[in-house]
Every structure is written in structure tokens, then in C-alpha cells.
Symmetry: C2
Subunit: 896 residues, 2 copies
């Protein structure tokens, strides 16, 4: 084992982010740029791996830490924790990807019973010195020694009560000195041990605790939620303490180089005079806006503005800065790429291109497809009547409604039952993250725009209102009161995170629109991508919407959804009850005009583009009432003396439900199997399609018509379906004297279809991968049965890397897709290949589909804009990886 495990800030750089963590790399960059950063050093993520693996810090790492500390001591002319002029340091975690609040920090390290006196003497402020020591003891005991932090909070609260004061700042030096003794007692009682007096022992304790914190449960949960690899590890930063709580000429703050909510180019942040960093984050005191800082600390403010400008230019991205002012002197404690709302992300990306800071590719990579999805979230109907309960800070935009819950565990439990909840807390902590994930929206009564709740909610795109001080939360009684209204747990409220408002009940929402900025941004994506983006739509309305959102075609019209409407179901049921082809044809004749009308509407909406119609897919029992419902209805009818005719009809339905019952309907009598056994259905659908198309043609309109056969496993099935459809087509062409051009193809959703893709490709104009069913069959995994059941356990235990129904299983299902693509292209190079499962709207899946050489993806209309961006990103990333413009599909499923 040999290597460099410790870097002084002046030795690092941004390029060493994986080694030094984000914070360490930022401190190094700022140090090298000559910005005012307190001196210190970083212990690398590799040291973290070693520690985690060996359970102890290797001797060589310790030696390098000792050397770096000795250098720091020499530079500062102080010794760590010395009785006089003590050097005090902070020990902070910093992973390569920011995980705000997820890991641990120890401040004021170096204080002990003797150095606290030195600190007091040096600053002339006993109260300050004792407060630092108290904080250190509390942090060290909880983080390094595992003492429950609430024990310290309790005695602190008792002390405030006894002193008759409201805030900690009002406690006197003597009272703080007492508190220190009580803290020591708690530590001794809880651990049988003490916070070490030896500053070097303190240092090692803290460093190891930070390394350990990489694997604490909330950090693991955060990484799982944010898809951060477990393999990264965290670095540790040891830095000379600077104090924002040294009086009224000191303070601390966080700021963004642009407004992270709107993207506006202003210095945006919050400042707390006479405070330490954790006071801002904790949200206990409400901080002041930046203008106030400018007024009170004009010089430091001016310097901060210049630093912000330099850092933004340096990083070519919006920065999130932490700083402290100590006796009017500015110190930069952190710089990192700023989290921002989806709205801001788009605006900033556009602005930075216009400012010449970045190119378009970079801009396209700066916004995530998920953020685009967020911009398309529903907003409150401006015309809806609503009763406002409270106002707060618009901490994370969007609107959400649900049952009020007062703790994260309950939020998670209810969400798992499929219920929508709003998490209401005085403030949130990292322990609440699973509740935020589970909630539709978040409301806190304390904390600012950069409080924990705000940052986390924005990161997840959850609507959030913070610091709504009007609401009085009673956690014990599980209720809150606002403007005279009491809201109990389970009552419904609505959060408008865009406006910062809280409303009673469920307020209706309206569909979002694409802003001008977003249109521009997406047009860049369109220029960049090769992959076509189609939408799944079953009605003319959906189709029109999809087109507005940029869909270049309809990749999947599910014809069965048209029969589910209340006025159409009876005709469908009649068809199912029919005993003979003639009877069936009669019922189908009633459905024909409705179906034709639907198709015509969709064609009209999509004029000039592709429309891919899938023939009837689901098992027939889906059109019938559920067995229990029918049994109950029959019993009720018999009791109420209904007509014999009506009872007979219900009995016939019941008999048919029983006859159609299947043990595994997913693998049952559906798709083309139905269309072949009941060719009348296929004929009717084909007739409706061609008649509708003919109407459009008569009017001079055109679409690129594609007819798709579902659940094909054998090429004979394709032949036979196609024979029925083409015969019907020819009949209609003969009647009208006009030939409508059309393509035919098959869904690839049965694994066997992928395996015989070469055979199918011989006669298919196109394939559309139905990756939902293909996933269910390839994995032997029923989506509805698995999700919310053992699949959750599998994810939690990392038996599978991701939910395969959300992001395509590249290794398994993906291998079949790749194989089928290769086989099909060999037989018919011009075959059109797409995907119409919901994976078509998911960014990783989109990148995969581009990589294997599909022509388009099709997803639900609201996912179209995000998919457009994801497709552009896939293209850019491919080029970056391969350094070439044209990337051939990978070869696959081929014995090496």
C-alpha cells in the first residue's frame, strides 16, 4: 500500500473531484484561485474505502494526516487545541456527488477544558467560547460516540426554561458552563466514557466517524433515491474554524450566483448575523435577505459579489456558496454546482448559452429530462374556488394535494398503500427524507428557502411551502391550526409551491403549457437528436395534446380503451355474449361507427404524421363486470323482483365471466389470439380504420397509417392477421376506388417474437417493442403482483438494480431487444423499429434504445418533452464516448 491519501487545499483541483469529493475539490479550486478560503486539507475517498474495508485507518494515512496537520499548525502559528491560542478545526464530509445534510460534520474541534479558556481569553468572549464548546460536545458525542442528540436538546430546553429565555443566544456564559457539565454527565451516563480531552484523539475520532457516516441508513437511502453509486465513498475536509458568531460584525450565509427558483441573474441567498453555519441550515432563526447583508456588511458583500462572478465564470455553472464573515472579513467555505428548479434550469441553460458561457450541448446536458417532466406538472386552476389556510415561502414549485400526515414513517406507510399524502412538519431533517420521497408535497412552519425541506423538495421536484409561520403544529395531537381552522391528520390540503400557499381540501388543477423558453430549449434538443419521439394516445384529444408537446407521431393507439367508455361497453358486452359469428358481427356493427369516428378524429389530429394503431389487445373479460359485482347484482335483482329478462342477462354475463376466467390472463387469450379466433373483430377494426382513413383522404388529408398486431409469437399468426386485414382493406379499396397506403407490423412483446425476429421481419414493415409485457414475460414477473410486494424488498436489498418496469432491464430484456434489432435489420435494413412501452419516456431506457439502434420511442404525451431532451442527451453522450458522429448499434447476445 502506497499512495497519497491527504491533499492540502492548495494541492487539489476540480479534476480530482472523485478523489477529494465535491467540497474538497471546490475548496481546492477556490484556494488556487486566490479566493479567501480558510486553510486546511482533504483526506481522500480512497482513504474512506480503506477505512470501510479494514475498519481502521492505516498507519500510512495517519502519518499523512499528521504531516498535513503539522503543516497547518505551522502556517497558522497555532497548535490544535492548545491551552493558549488554540487551533480549532471543522471536520466535514464531502462526497464526489453532493448529498446535502446526509452526512456528518463536527465543528469547533480542538476545544477541551483548557483550550476553551484559551479561546475565551483570545476572543475576550467567555459566552462565545462556552457556546462553541457546548456545540462541540454535542456534535462529537452524537456523531462520534452515538449518543442520542435529543438528550442534549432536552437539557438545553430545560436550561432556557429555567433561565426564562427563548433562544440559546440569550443564555449567559455561566449558564453555558453549567450546561457543559450536564452534557458531560449525559455522555458519561450514556457511554460510560467521555469526549476525549486530547485534541488529536478528537480529530481521529471525527475523521473516522465521517467515514463511517457514508454507510449510515439515511445516507444509503438518499443514494438509493438519487441513484448515487455506493462505490464513490466520501472524503473528509479538515479546515481551520472561522466564526460567524463572533459578534455583530460577523455572520454567516449561503447564496446562489443566480436565483435557483427563477433562474434570474441575481445574487440570491440568506444571511444570519452573529451565527454559525448550522443555524442557517437548521432553520431555527429566520435569516435575512441578501440586501440586508449589503446594507450591514457593504465591503464583505461587495467581495462576495466578485467571488460569485469569478466562480460562475470559472465553473461555467450556477454556484451554491457557503460563506462566513468573521470580524468583517469574508471566508468562503464551500462552492458547488447549485441545485435549481426545473424552471430555473431551463432559463439558466438558455441564458448561459446567450452569455457565451456554455455551448448548446452543455446546455442540453444541464437540464435533466425529469426536470422537463416537472415543468409539465399540473398547476392550480386559477378559476377554482379555494380557501387559503396559510402563506409561506414558495420553496419548490408545483401543486400537490393529499391527506395531512405529521411524520415521515406514516407518510411512507400510507403512500405504499397508494394513498396521496402531504407531509407537514415544523421543519425537516435528513431523517425525514423517506417521508418527502413518499409525499405529494411538503409543508413546514419553520425554515427558509434554503432550509433542508426546501433543498430536498426542490431536488425531487416536489411542491413545497416552507416557513409558513401561521400554522401551529401540535405533533402530540396530530393536528395543526391556521387562521382558526383545525386540520387533523387525514384531512386533505393542497400545497401551491409556486405561490407559497396552503389551501383547504383538494383544489382542481389545470394542464400546464410549454413556456417560450422551454420551446426554444427543446427545439435545440430536436436539432440534436436522431431518435424520433412518438406518443401513446387513444383519443383525438390525447393525440392533439401529444402533438402540441412535440410528438412526431402516435406510436400506439390502444383501440380497446375506446370500448371502455360507459356508452360503448354494452355493445362490446353484446359482442362477447354472442354465440355465433353472425350474432357477433351484429354487435360489432354497432361498434364499427364509434370506432371509425375515433380513428378519424385521431387521424385528423395527426395529419401528416404517423399513426400506429394496435388491434384489440386485452382479454375479453376486461370488458365484463367483476365476478363479485355480478353475483351481488344478481342477488339484488332477484330480491327487488326485477324482470326475468334482466336477471337472465346478468346470469349470461356471469356465465361468460366464468367461461373466460383465466389463471394467468397476462399469458392468456388476448391480442392476436383473439383476433384470429374471432376474425370478425379484426375485420371490424380494419374496416373502421380504412373507412376513417378514406374520409380523411376524401378531404385531402393524409396520415402515415400503420396497423400493428399485438402478442404475436409465431409468424403464422402474423400471416393470418395480415390476411384478414388486407382482405378487408381490398374490399374497401374496391368499394371506394381509392387505395390508402398503409404499413403493417407487429408488437414484439412475447419473448418468442424477439427470438424469431428475422422471420417476422421478412413481412413486417415495422416492429414496435412492447417492453412492458416483454419485461413481464422475460423476467417471469407480473408487474401488478410484484410492485408494492416483493419487488420493493428486492430493490431495498439490492437484488435488482432498479425497478425493471421503470427503467428497462438492459441485461435481460434489453438483450432480447438488441438481438431482435440485429436480426431484423439483417433481413430488412429499412424496417422501422420503435418502442411503445412506458420505458419509452425514461431517460436511461431512451439512451439504451438509441444505442441499440431503434428509430423512435413512444411514450405518454406528457413525457414527450422530457423524452425529446433525453434523446438529445443520449446522442451527445454517445458522441462524447465514442468520439464519432455516427455510432453503430452494439453487437449483442452473441456467444463471445
Amino acid at each position: 500500500m502506497a499512495g497519497k491519501w491527504v491533499y492540502r487545499f492548495s494541492e487539489g483541483s476540480e479534476a480530482m473531484r472523485n478523489l477529494l469529493g465535491g467540497k474538497g475539490a471546490g475548496l481546492a479550486e477556490m484556494t488556487r484561485a486566490g479566493l479567501p478560503v480558510p486553510p486546511g486539507f482533504t483526506i481522500t475517498t480512497e482513504a474512506c474505502h480503506l477505512y470501510v474495508k479494514e475498519g481502521t485507518l492505516p498507519q500510512e494515512v495517519r502519518q499523512q494526516i499528521d504531516t498535513a496537520l503539522a503543516d497547518l499548525e505551522r502556517e497558522e502559528g497555532r497548535l490544535l487545541g492548545a491551552p493558549e491560542h488554540p487551533l480549532l478545526v471543522s471536520v466535514r464530509s464531502g462526497a464526489p456527488i453532493s448529498m446535502p445534510g446526509m452526512m456528518d460534520t463536527v465543528l469547533n474541534l480542538g476545544l477541551n477544558d483548557r483550550s476553551v479558556v484559551g479561546l475565551a481569553q483570545e476572543t475576550g468572549d467567555w459566552r462565545f467560547a462556552y457556546d462553541c464548546y457546548r456545540r462541540f460536545l454535542q456534535m462529537y458525542a452524537s456523531i462520534v460516540m452515538g449518543v442520542n442528540e435529543s438528550l442534549f436538546e432536552e437539557v438545553l430546553a430545560q436550561k432556557r426554561a429555567a433561565a426564562g429565555v427563548k433562544t440559546d443566544a440569550e443564555l449567559t456564559a455561566e449558564q453555558l458552563a453549567d450546561l457543559i457539565e450536564e452534557y458531560k454527565r449525559i455522555v458519561s451516563e450514556e457511554t460510560g466514557s467521555e469526549v476525549p480531552q486530547d485534541p488529536y484523539q478528537q480529530l481521529y475520532g471525527a475523521i473516522e466517524a465521517v467515514f463511517r457516516s457514508w454507510n449510515n441508513p439515511r445516507a444509503k437511502a438518499y443514494r438509493a433515491a438519487n441513484e448515487i453509486p455506493e462505490s464513490l465513498g466520501t472524503a473528509v475536509n479538515v479546515m481551520r474554524m472561522v466564526y460567524g458568531n463572533m459578534g455583530e460584525d460577523s455572520g454567516t450565509g449561503v447564496c446562489f450566483t443566480r436565483d435557483p427558483n427563477t433562474g434570474e441573474k441575481v445574487l440570491y441567498g440568506e444571511f444570519l448575523p452573529n451565527a454559525q453555519g448550522e443555524d442557517v441550515v437548521a432553520g431555527i432563526r429566520t435569516p435575512l435577505p441578501m440586501e440586508e447583508m449589503e446594507r450591514r456588511f457593504p465591503e464583505a458583500y461587495q467581495q462576495l459579489c466578485e467571488v460569485a462572478e469569478r466562480l460562475e465564470r470559472h465553473y461555467r455553472d450556477v454556484q451554491d456558496l457557503e460563506f462566513t464573515v468573521e470580524h468583517n472579513r469574508l471566508y468562503m467555505l464551500q462552492t458547488r454546482s447549485a441545485k435549481r428548479t426545473a424552471f430555473a434550469a431551463v432559463k439558466i441553460a438558455l441564458d448561459m448559452v446567450n452569455e457565451g458561457l456554455i455551448d448548446r450541448d452543455t446546455a442540453l446536458l444541464r437540464v435533466s429530462p425529469d426536470q422537463i417532466d416537472q415543468l409539465l406538472h399540473r398547476t392550480l386552476d386559477p378559476n377554482a374556488e379555494k380557501k387559503e389556510l396559510a402563506k409561506g415561502l414558495p420553496a419548490s414549485p408545483g401543486a400537490g394535494s393529499g391527506e395531512v400526515v405529521f411524520d415521515a414513517d406514516r407518510a411512507e406507510a400510507l403512500a405504499q398503500q397508494g394513498r396521496q399524502v402531504v407531509l407537514v412538519r415544523p421543519e425537516t431533517t435528513p431523517d425525514d427524507v423517506h417521508g418527502v420521497i413518499a409525499a405529494q408535497a411538503v409543508l413546514t412552519s419553520r425554515g427558509g428557502m434554503t432550509s433542508h425541506a426546501a433543498v430536498v423538495a426542490r431536488g425531487m421536484g416536489k411542491p413545497c411551502v416552507c416557513g409558513a409561520e401561521e400554522i401551529q403544529i401540535d405533533l402530540a395531537e396530530r393536528r395543526f391550526t391556521a387562521r382558526g381552522v383545525t386540520i387533523a391528520e387525514g384531512d386533505i390540503i393542497t400545497i401551491d409551491g409556486t405561490q407559497g400557499c396552503v389551501y383547504l381540501g383538494r383544489v382542481p388543477t389545470v394542464e400546464p403549457t410549454l413556456s417560450h423558453e422551454l420551446e426554444t430549449f427543446l427545439s435545440w434538443a430536436d436539432q440534436r437528436r436522431h431518435l424520433g419521439i412518438h406518443a401513446n394516445a387513444d383519443t383525438p384529444q390525447d393525440a392533439a395534446r401529444a402533438r402540441q408537446l412535440g410528438a412526431e407521431g402516435i406510436g400506439l393507439v390502444r383501440t380497446e380503451h375506446m370500448f371502455m367508455a360507459k356508452d360503448r361497453l354494452p355493445a362490446m358486452q353484446e359482442m362477447i355474449l354472442a354465440n355465433a359469428p353472425a350474432e357477433r358481427a351484429e354487435a360489432l356493427a354497432k361498434i364499427l361507427p364509434m370506432q371509425e369516428e375515433d380513428f378519424y378524429g385521431i387521424f385528423k389530429a395527426m395529419e401528416g404524421l404517423t399513426v400506429t394503431i394496435r388491434l384489440l389487445d386485452p382479454p375479453l373479460h376486461e370488458f365484463l363486470p367483476r365476478r363479485e359485482v355480478l353475483v351481488a347484482q344478481i342477488a339484488a335483482l332477484e330480491k327487488s323482483g326485477a324482470s326475468a329478462e334482466e336477471i337472465r342477462h346478468h346470469r349470461a354475463l356471469l356465465a361468460q365471466v366464468d367461461a373466460l376466467h383465466e389463471n394467468n390472463p397476462m399469458l392468456g387469450f388476448r391480442g392476436s389470439r383473439l383476433g384470429l379466433v374471432y376474425p370478425e373483430i379484426t375485420q371490424m377494426q380494419a374496416r373502421a380504420i380504412f373507412q376513417a382513413a378514406d374520409r380523411l383522404w376524401q378531404e385531402g388529408g393524409r396520415v402515415k397509417l400503420e396497423i400493428m398486431y399485438p402478442l404475436i409469437g409465431y409468424e403464422t399468426e402474423f400471416h393470418e392477421m395480415n390476411r384478414i386485414v388486407s382482405q378487408t382493406a381490398e374490399q374497401i379499396f374496391a368499394q371506394t376506388g381509392r387505395r390508402i397506403p398503409y404499413h403493417v407490423g407487429t408488437m414484439i412483446e412475447v419473448p418468442r417474437a424477439a427470438i424469431i425476429a428475422d422471420k417476422l421481419a421478412k413481412e413486417c414493415d415495422f416492429f414496435s417493442f412492447g417492453t412492458n409485457d416483454l419485461t413481464q414475460m422475460t423476467l417471469g414477473l407480473s408487474r401488478d403482483d410484484a410492485q408494492g410486494r416483493f419487488l420493493g424488498i428486492y430493490l431495498k436489498r439490492e437484488l435488482i438494480p432498479a425497478d425493471p418496469f421503470i427503467s428497462i432491464d438492459q441485461e435481460g430484456v434489453g438483450a432480447l431487444v438488441r438481438f431482435a434489432v440485429q436480426q431484423a435489420r439483417q433481413v430488412r435494413p429499412e424496417i422501422e423499429l420503435g418502442v411503445c412501452g412506458e420505458h419509452g419516456g425514461e431517460k436511461k431506457s431512451i439512451a439504451f434504445f438509441r444505442r441499440v439502434g431503434l428509430d423512435y420511442v413512444s411514450c405518454s404525451p406528457y413525457r414527450v418533452p422530457g423524452a425529446r431532451l433525453a434523446a438529445a442527451q443520449a446522442e451527445i453522450q454517445l458522441e462524447q464516448e465514442k468520439g464519432t458522429q455516427e455510432v453503430p448499434p452494439e453487437s449483442v447476445m452473441q456467444p463471445a
Copy 2:
């Protein structure tokens, strides 16, 4: 178009069977061997294709027929249908594969109003001549002109009645002459036309009619049932007539060169003096045994014996001969390979090897594995009278009789009283297993060859008929109806699972034995095959039986079947109802000793061989009562005032049934998914296995122990299951101080597992392809839902070539198997690869598995002997195809 369409008998040979048909090739061989065959010629199957395609005989074919006929006329010194000394011929079909009675024949062709006089004058027998003419008119009119044959039979019967005689032979020449006029009148009335007087027109009419008969419905049905390709076509044989009905020195007969029922080496057949061939077949006169022929026609008989001996030596197989004696002179009309019983097939194969006629490979190819299956089950006494009630699928071979019962409990109760019962159910579920165990045979009205009832019954060697849709079961009234007969509970029926028939009453059966001959025969198969044959067995009894039948190991122990027994189910249900791991462990502790006992018994039975144990596979709900049953029980309990405790228990069961309900249990929470979420179950099973093995080891016994994890899709699942099992193993090894060697592997039944076979192979000692489930998932086809429903329609319409649950779908499922085999062998060449689905007992599948390079197949015990033969045949055929001893697996699923 150019070619040779017509061959004189002396030009053909056995090698031209596809061109000349079986009959034509036989006649050619006999002619070339100098045997007494009437002269003639054959029109080829290629001419048949031309005729079918063009609807008429091409000119060139006609010319060749004319030439061949002219040659024949010259040789015989007679002209076809001439007024004096007419040449008369027969026109017979003859396809390359024998289709007895399926196609058409015209005899006495050439007769007309003038030549009949010539025939009478030549033979001096007017009665004979008119009878020939009458027969010719009847055959020609019905076969060539489509007149309903029964019209002729009617007037013939009237004529007999009017004449006061019983048989046609008693009619006088005058009466026959009248009949001829009546026949002509019928033809005229029915067709407005006449049987042509022109002999050449007659000839072409008959030839074309035979070609058309290739596509008559009964011929098509026969081909479908016997898997004879449509593409073969039939040839036509034109042959000079010879007459067995020319008086007491003439006769006709059929005989076999050995007894086709027993295999004994005796000339076996029947002879009718003074008769034509169709009289033998029609069964109007009782034929005489061969000894009688020897007595009456000593010279012809002696000649026949010599001919038989020569033909058997020539063909090296038992021949089925047709012959005619005309005025004491023997003529051979046909020779073909004889159909024989399973019993005879084995004996003949053995004898012919011993006689030096054939080698062992030929002998092994002479018996079909299906015939071996037949020898291993009780069969109905072929001589018994029986009334058929219904037909269904021959789901499990053998025969069984007993009282009809309609539920499993009653079946068990009656069986315990020593009564024989037949369980009749709409379909069976795992709840019925104790009823199947108790019953002599099983009958279901729904479900296919691999439905639950079928699989369980086959596994137990119980006769079973499934999917007998003709029977209407009324469970409420405890009776069923079929073909107008009502069978109440307690009535006796007989099931013939070999044929798929249900009979009224008790039909006598005969007992099977593994005869000494069969043992010898199978030992030859064993020497020849490379593929191992294992058996699926769940009990010590099954295992012992499998070993007796030649199984070299147990390839699948289904551990769950052990829990279905009535005394074990409560403990299993207790386990399922448990709320916490500890509670679950308590219930499992009760199951542990039972499971250990079962394993010990199986190990003991299989000492020295491999035992592959699959851990728990089915979804838990299979161990619980059905919902309807529970609801009814709860209602009954409440009404009867049962204890609160009992009602609570039933309610808990109901709640659990609901909680475990799945839409698609096939793709649900089962297999290793269960074993991972409830590791206690896996631990218990592992403990039972190792404790049982340890007992055997203590006694000095050994087995090759293999533990198999079901439903694996991800390698993580394998790791985790294996971790649990190996930890348990180590605990036990530590306790006992003895290490039991064992192998671990996975079922390959989820398509994904096949796709990642290389990854799984890294840590698996073996794979076992579970082709039942692999088929369901790869084809997206639920076995129980599809069989007896649309799968039947698919088969009928030839959308699929065969039931994929009976014979493996080589193109789809097979491609995955091949791919997985290749991938696995690349990573781990020594990996053991087998199959444990029921395909393992089917001959075509077995040949496929050998071809792709599996090491063994595993099937139900009674299929083991057939599988041993099939494996040997696969080996021989492979060598014959490739001309080499060592055949590597084919390469597959590899983009070309």
C-alpha cells in the same frame, strides 16, 4: 416440363419409395426379385402433384401412360377392355407412407357391355363375369363419379331379398345382369351421365380420381392424426387383374411373415377361397386360418412360405402381404412393412438381431418410445366388450376402473375402506392431490395434457383422461352426463388413459410387466445412448419405482408435494399465517422432521446415484383452501355456532388468501422469490436435506446431492439463496463434524435466466431447464388457460406445428435452451446440464436435447424406459445424419 412420370414395375425399386409410393416400390422390388407379381406400371407422386396443381393430367404424362399401357397390352397379348380376351386392370393408390383404407381403388377396369361377354366366354362363367362388371360399375360410379355408394347397396339388398338369398354369391347370372341395368339407371339418375364404355376413358377417370382422393377429407384427417406430410402425394398403380374368385381352385388372402400381436415367427394370416380381396376386408365371410390354406392349396402355400421368407430377408423386417391364387397359381399383390403391437415390436427386434437379420441399431430404431410407454401400463383387455361414454385427451397412460366420486375427500375415505374409485372433477387443483393418490384413475372435463391433473397423474403413474369436454359434470347433484347416459356417484366407469377413452362399467384389464425381452432391449439402448435418463420423483416409493425402470438419478424432487398431504397441510398453513419470522420458524420446525424423513427415504432409495432437490416452488396460496370454499365454511361455521376460535382461524385464512391473491400467479411470488423473502423456509429445507443426508452418511450410504433453486432470473438471487443454504450447511457440518459434499444449481425456467446463462454458470455446478415454465413465459402462453381453449384451434388451423407443452418448441424455446447451453459451456465446460420439464420424456424433445448438448433428461418414472430408447435413437440418428461418432452441439441464436 420434362421427366419420367410412369415406371413399369420392372423399372422401379425400394429406393424410389417417395416417387412410386410404398405399394409401387414393393411391387417393383418383388418384380425385380422374380416373384410372381401381375404385370403393371406405376404413375408417380410427382404426377399427383402436377395433377393437384393444374387440375388436369398434363399431356406428357398421358403419353407416358399410353405407352406403358400399350407395352402391357403387347406383353399380355390382350387389349384393354377388348370384346374378346379383354385385358382388365386394377387402379390403386399408394402413398410413400402407408395410409390403409384411406384412399381409393377401382378393380376390374376395362369391363363394358361388350368385354363382359368376352370375359364370360373366356372363363366360361357368366355369373363371374357379371359379378365383376357389377362390382366395377359400383366402384367406378362411387369413386370416380361421386355417386353415393349406399344406393347400390340398397338395390343389391333388395335383389337378395327378392331372390330369397342371404349372400351376393348366391345371386344368379341373370339376377346380376338385372342388377347391372339397375346400377346403370342409378348412375344415370344421379349424374345425368353414364359410366364410360370406353376402357381408356375409364382408365383416365380412375387415375384422376385416385389422385383427387389424396385430398379427400378422411385422407387429410388421417395424415393430420399420423403426422404424415401433406407434401408427399400418392402414386397410382395400374396392374393386370388376377382373380381369386375363379372357383374353388382360386382364393385370396393377407398374411404377416410373423405374428404381429406376439412377434412369434410363424406365417400368420387369413385366406378366403373363391373370393376377391375386398371380400376379406369387408368381413362378410369368415376367412380361414393359414393351416387351412396349407391343406387346400399345398403348392401355393409352400410357394407363399418361400416368398415370405425371401421378402423378410430382403426387407429385413416383418412384411404384411396380400396375395391371390388364380387357378392354383400364386400372385403377390402387395408387400409392406407390418404394423405390430408394442409387445411384438420388441420381440421381433430382438429375434431379428439374434437371427442376424438386422444389427442392434436397426433394432433400436424399429420400436417407438411410445410403444415402450404402452408396455408399462395396465391396458384394457382388447377382447373385452365395452361401451364408450366419452373421449378426451390421453393424459396419463394405463387403465383403471372404480366407483365415480366427485371430490378428493370422498375418494380418500372410500379408498381407505378398500374401495376402488375414479376421481371425476371439472379440473384438479393441488387441493385434490390426496384424491388423486387415493383414486385408481382420474377424469377431468377441462384441462390439457399438461394440466395439473395430467402432470400429477403421470407422476404417479395413474391413468388419466383430461379435457373430456363431452361430459357435463353437475357437482351439486353429484353426477355427470355423457352421450345421453347419466352416471351418478358410485357408478362404475373405466378410464383408458392410453387411448383417452371413458367406458361404462368395469372393463377387464391386463397387467404390464418389464419383460425379460424388454429388459434386454433397453439394455442395448443404454449401451448406445450418451444422454442420461433421470426421473422426477417426490417420494421414496416413486424414487424406487423410477430406479427399477432404469432411472440413473432423480432429476427433480418437488419438495412442495410433500406438504400437500393432509397431515402436513396444517403445519404449512400455520407457517403461512405466521406474522413474524419467529412464529414462522416455529411452524417450520414442525415441518422439518417430516421433510427430513422424506429426503432420507429418497436418498436411501437412490443410494449411489444423483438426487436433485428443488427448493419450494409454488406460490403460497396453493397451500390454502380456495376462496369460495373458505367463504362457505365460514358461513357454515357461523350458522352452526362454532367456537369463536375456529371462526377466527378461518377468517385469518381468508384474509391471507386475499392478501396472497395474484392476477398472474405464474409470474408471481414463488420459487426463490419466496425463499429469499422468507429465508426461514429456505433454512428449514436446507436443514432437512443435510440432516437427512447425514443420517445416510452415518449408515455408510452415499448419494450425489444436488440442491436446485427455482425461478432464478438474476444472479443476485442465486447468490443470496446459495448464501442461506451454505450457511445452514456449514452450521450442520460444524455440529456433526462431517461435511456432506453437494452441488448447487438453478432451474432455467425464466427467459432471463437463459439470457444470462454465462453469468449464472460462473457459480452453478449444474443447470436444469424447467421447460414447462420456460415455454409458458417464452411463448406468453399459460398452459392451463390455453390447452382445451384456443390452443386447440391453433393446432387445428396449423398456426402452430405441435402442442408446445408436449413437444418442445425448438424454434423459440429451443433457441433459448441452445443459447444458454453454449453460454454456460463457454464459462464452465464441465457444468452439468439437464432438463426436468415433462418434455424430458418426449421423443422429439429428447432428440433435440441431445442435439443441443444436454447431459441428461428427467421425466416421470413411467416414461423412463421410453426415454432410454428415445435417447438411443437420437444418438443413432445423429450419427446417421452426420456420419461421425462425436457430434458437437449446433451453433445458434447467433446473428449470422
